[in-house]
């Protein structure tokens, strides 16, 4: 941490880390198999039975941990769709 650091280029490792995290999250969900897209379609169908949702408002993501794979499902339901169903 000296005055010379002011003239140095910005650190590149954090950029590398961030780019990898974004890329791999995407690749893990598309590479593995069609599992994610099949799940996405079926989950969408189940939800559509009860509430009206936009198909691109359903996000299905696979992430890997040391021991388990995490399936992340993110569904955006508009408020009026809920009240209609109820």
């Amino acid at each position: 941490m000296t005055i010379f650091n002011l003239f140095r280029k910005q650190r590149s490792a954090p950029t590398a880390r961030e780019r990898l995290q974004v890329l791999l999250a995407h690749e893990r969900s598309s590479n593995g198999s069609d599992l994610v897209s099949v799940l996405r379609e079926e989950i969408l169908a189940v939800i559509a039975k009860h509430v009206q949702v936009d198909s691109d408002k359903v996000q299905v993501k696979m992430d890997r941990d040391e021991d388990v794979t995490i399936l992340e499902i993110d569904v955006e339901i508009p408020l009026d769709a809920v009240s209609q169903a109820a």
Partner: protein, 271 residues
């Protein structure tokens, strides 16, 4: 029954062959019976790194095709009595590497040796998937660099789907071997840190091999770095990794950290 390990990475040039030779020699130095198997048919190099290039008569393909017995193809290391090499073919096509043939050879090797270490070719083609097929555990060699980390992630996916263990529904044991690591550059923020790579790949760490001239020097003279200069930093890191492979629980040392003031000045000049 011996353990079968695959040394793999996806990306080329990250240190698979160097690591296979170094880990093989390190395990053999513990008096365990070790065979290192070159799966890189057509582009063999393990023989060269081990210093046995002039002693190759028969190879893996000859054994698979029934042209030679396994005992004829195995080359005993001149320095370590318990270390053997099964070279790849330089001339034959990789299509000669059949799944049945590989299975037969691995089964036979597993009976005779404590450790069967398979040096995978780069890529994700049949050579790479056959090298990992029968593995009990995998060493994923990764450089702290974006393309290597991405390819390792891909290989981890294959290890979890294309291996016998995965197909049987068992859990494939995977270990990260981080090579060419420069603690000073990582500290300055110009290289991915150990923690970064671990967080992204989510597999346990088996060792950190520092970027070092000693690795090139060892391959120049045709000797695994753990034999060429056992007291060098990369050799010590490989010895540590080998002990972890054998099941010992050791704290990880990050090589090159905690430099003195002179070291720091020197490092700045060198960079």
């Amino acid at each position: 029954m011996g353990k079968v390990i695959v040394v793999t990475s996806g990306k080329g040039g990250v240190g698979k062959t160097t690591s296979t030779a170094a880990l093989g020699a390190a395990l053999a130095q513990r008096n365990e019976r070790v065979v290192v198997v070159d799966f890189d048919v057509g582009l063999r190099n393990l023989d060269l790194v081990m210093g046995a290039e002039r002693r190759v008569v028969y190879d893996l393909i000859n054994v698979i095709q029934g042209e030679a017995k396994l005992s004829q193809a195995l080359i005993r290391d001149k320095r370590l009595e318990t270390l053997f090499l099964l070279p790849a073919s330089q001339t034959r096509d990789k299509d000669n590497l059949t799944p049945e043939g590989v299975e037969r050879v691995i089964t036979e090797l597993r009976r005779v040796f404590d450790w069967v270490i398979c040096d995978s070719p780069a890529g994700i083609e049949s050579g790479a998937t056959l090298a990992m097929r029968h593995a009990d555990m995998a060493v994923v060699v990764t450089n702290p660099e974006v393309s290597s980390v991405r390819d390792s992630d891909r290989i981890i996916g294959l290890l979890d789907s294309k291996t016998l263990k995965a197909e049987r529904g068992e859990r494939m044991e995977k270990h990260l071997l981080l090579t060419r690591y420069d603690a000073n550059r990582a500290e300055r923020g110009d290289m991915l840190k150990v923690e970064d790579v671990l967080e992204i790949l989510s597999i346990p760490l088996i060792g950190i091999i520092p970027e070092s001239m000693d690795v090139l020097r060892a391959s120049n003279i045709g000797s695994p770095v753990t034999l060429a200069d056992a007291r060098s930093a990369p050799a010590m890191a490989y010895f540590e990794a080998a002990r972890r492979l054998a099941g010992e629980v050791l704290p990880i040392t990050v090589p090159g950290e905690k430099r003195g003031i002179f070291g720091k000045i020197f490092a700045r000049r060198a960079a």
